[in-house]
């Protein structure tokens, strides 16, 4: 996988890729993450997909240094990542939490200052982010008075404020309404257009498909697929839809064709042999009329099911 350096070059400065190499984590006897390797290229939005317990959160926690690594390494710009590097990454942990009894603005400024911003800088950045996410009028409220969705937005500000050099976000879209999802997506795109590498995990495959330039699919602690959505599609066996005038049940007996589903006169097929297409159509025309024969673009969900099966 190569670095997507377009935006980095455009701004005239080099940005760092975030890279994970042979990462492993054992919890006692259980191997939660097993030799995971992938790159989050600078300036690209990388989706991290996988079922519950696949090891996404464990991997992200190791990347951020809050969980010790059993084996393998995390690289930043090609060399082992340091605590000073991590200080410049925006991070959103899996479980959300803030100080419930402190006003939104105060605690975000506090978190900004811990990352080395001055009070004035932190305030400016926090206020502009709150504005973007529609929370400007709640900045004096205690966090516990906000709805869960709004707390989630505050958490987003905590990760994005300042100018992080990279973003590691665990389920940043969960709990957001469609409007907030769009604001969040815009924000993330702004960061990638600056040249920042962004890694985010999500269960919402349609969202990942819509947003991501790059995908990493994890299953049972291992990377099972990686690449752009189109690359992943090309690895998948193409499916075809066939609509006939009569019953389509006979396609099941055809060699070189795998029948996924038959519903009356409609069949969903996978063509396994190169010559299967011709044989199929010849037989179909011999039996009657063909109303439709079309290639189906596989959805990410379908690919996901295939690669994690």
């Amino acid at each position: 996988m190569t670095t997507n350096g377009t935006s980095a070059q455009a701004s005239g400065r080099a940005w760092s890729d975030l890279e994970v190499r042979d990462l492993r984590r054992d919890f006692g006897e259980v191997r939660a993450v097993d030799g995971v390797s992938f790159t989050v290229p600078a300036g690209a939005l990388t989706g991290f997909v996988g079922g519950n317990g696949a090891g996404k959160t464990t991997t992200m926690r190791m990347v951020m240094g809050v969980l010790s690594i059993t084996a393998g390494e995390v690289l930043w710009g090609g060399r082992p990542i340091t605590q000073a590097d991590r200080r410049q990454l925006g991070y959103m942990p899996e479980e959300r939490g803030l100080y419930p009894k402190q006003p939104v603005l105060d605690q975000l400024i506090y978190l900004g200052r811990l990352r080395g911003m001055s009070t004035a800088q932190a305030r400016t950045s926090v206020l502009s982010h709150l504005e973007r996410l529609g929370l400007a009028d709640r900045s004096r409220d205690h966090v516990e008075k906000l709805s869960l969705g709004n707390q989630q937005r505050v958490q987003i500000v905590a990760a994005l404020m300042g100018r992080p050099r990279g973003l590691v976000l665990d389920e940043p879209f969960s709990g957001l309404d469609p409007e907030a999802v769009d604001s969040m997506a815009d924000l993330l795109r702004e960061h990638t257009s600056r040249g920042v590498p962004v890694l985010f995990s999500s269960h919402q495959l349609d969202l990942v498909e819509r947003l991501c330039e790059q995908l990493v699919v994890l299953a049972r602690g291992k990377v099972v697929a990686t690449g752009t959505p189109d690359e992943l599609r090309s690895t998948s066996v193409a499916r075809h839809r066939l609509v006939l005038s009569g019953d389509a049940g006979w396609v099941r007996d055809l060699t070189g064709v795998h029948t996924v589903d038959v519903d009356g006169s409609t069949a969903l097929l996978e063509l396994l042999d190169p010559g299967a297409e011709r044989a199929l159509l010849t037989e179909a025309l011999r039996r009657g009329e063909v109303h439709e024969f079309s290639a189906q673009r596989p959805s990410l969900a379908q690919i996901y099911r295939e690669v994690t099966a």
Binding site: S16, R87, A120, S128, R132, L160, E190
Partner: protein
């Protein structure tokens, strides 16, 4: 605001000061974060943490209320002492004859000389029935009347000792004078050489009761502060742990700085509160009948505050560890249990021990916070003793901070339920 432009290369590793590393490489086109650049933080991380701890605590309503209540309680004690001190007591004695009236006048003079706030009045009534009625109604405390071979005090209930002894003294003096005159001598001649003066070797004018009271106050003050602030530190640690906020903080600053800030911030508030209480307490004492003991008490209080600072520092660190061992607020009760038990032991030991036990306790760290100032107040400690004992405590605090910091770091990012102290020490970092 100065805008530094970090070199076009990637950040140069851990050797570069994190404060100097900018936020992104220079101004960019995006509209967010309006030109926030190159934030050189103006304060070290631990100070930022400590400041937050102080601000959050001091603006907490429960904290303000409990502080004001305690001050009111101490001030109330002072006001009560003041009122008690200025209150005059008047005893009314019913008499049925002029001789009785004369005796009461003598007794009043003697009692007043003894204690200026005591006055004794005679109330002349015509007969026994009137006298009894007066006593029964409570308008007079006693009825003084002559009986065969002496005088009798008739009362409805217990007679105050001050009144009895004053009247006894007057009757005795009167009888002595009469008897002396009868044998041709005087009372002065009879009493010659009977004066007794008490001289004490230790010269200590402090009563044991006062020392006990002050010790109790020290113990209570320390226990209260340690428990309250200790639990608060533990709660604030687990709050961050439970909410995973600590993961965000851990990526921004070293955990050591977080611990230092928490312990430092809370120690400052605890110390401030104790100094406030001690000052109000000393003012209260200055209004009480023990005001003459103020200089001695002040010395003990200064030592107490000194011990408190060092002792609290160690305890704060331990409570932070207890917070890190828990994974939810509900776990705190069990992870802080060893500490609260130890504190209760110190509390009871501080006024339960005497003699050698008290001397030993005054050298044992934490227990010495209360025991040594108590011995200083009682005038039992040589000048070097508190110095040595404070040294022990400082050493204990240093070890606690070192070990505590290790356990804190190892357990803070563990999310698998509650840890024991032993597990935390075994956990690899």
């Amino acid at each position: 605001m100065t805008t530094t432009q970090p070199s076009p290369t990637t950040p140069s590793g851990s050797s570069s000061s994190p404060d100097a590393s900018g936020w992104g490489p220079g101004p960019l086109d995006s509209s967010d974060a309006a030109g926030v650049e190159a934030g050189a933080s103006e304060a070290p991380a631990w100070l930022i943490v400590a400041t937050r701890e102080v601000v959050v605590r001091v603006t907490n309503r429960a904290f303000i209320v409990s502080t004001l209540l305690t001050i009111a309680l101490i001030a109330g004690f002072g006001a009560f002492s003041l009122w008690q001190g200025s209150r005059t007591t008047t005893y009314t004695v019913a008499v049925t004859n002029p001789e009785g009236s004369g005796l009461v006048t003598q007794a009043a003079a003697a009692a007043h000389q003894d204690d200026q706030k005591v006055t004794i009045d005679a109330r002349q009534v015509p007969d026994e029935a009137a006298a009894r009625a007066l006593v029964e109604s409570g308008d007079a405390v006693v009825w003084l009347h002559d009986a065969a071979g002496g005088w009798t005090l008739t009362s409805a209930g217990e007679v105050p000792i001050a009144l009895t002894s004053a009247l006894e003294g007057a009757v005795r003096a009167d009888a002595l004078a009469t008897n002396a005159a009868a044998v041709g001598t005087s009372v002065e001649a009879l009493e010659k050489g009977t004066a007794v003066t008490v001289v004490r070797f230790d010269g200590s004018p402090i009563e044991a009761g006062f020392v006990k009271g002050a010790t109790f106050a020290f113990a209570l003050l320390f226990l209260m502060a340690a428990m309250m602030f200790g639990q608060q530190i533990a709660a604030s640690v687990v709050e961050e742990k439970q909410s995973r906020l600590v993961e965000i903080i851990a990526t921004a600053i070293p955990l050591r700085q977080l611990l230092a800030g928490k312990v430092g911030g809370n120690s400052v508030i605890a110390l401030g509160q104790v100094v406030l209480f001690a000052a109000v307490g000393l003012i209260a004492v200055s209004f009480s009948e023990w005001s003459s003991l103020l200089p001695a008490l002040s010395v003990a209080v200064v030592w107490f505050v000194l011990y408190f600072v060092v002792g609290f520092f160690a305890l704060a660190c331990l409570f932070a560890v207890a917070g890190a061992l828990a994974s939810r607020v509900e776990d705190l009760q069990s992870t802080t249990a060893p500490l609260t038990t130890a504190l209760m032991l110190v509390y009871f030991a501080s006024f339960g021990l005497s003699g050698t036990g008290a001397v030993i306790a005054s050298y044992v760290p934490i227990a010495s916070v209360v025991s040594m100032p108590a011995r200083i107040l009682a005038g039992e400690a040589a000048w070097w003793e508190p110095v040595v004992s404070l040294g022990f405590m400082a050493a204990f605090a240093a070890v606690t901070v070192l070990v505590g910091e290790k356990v804190y770091r190892r357990s803070l990012l563990q999310t698998r339920g509650r840890l024991t102290w032993r597990e935390a020490l075994r956990t690899p970092e």
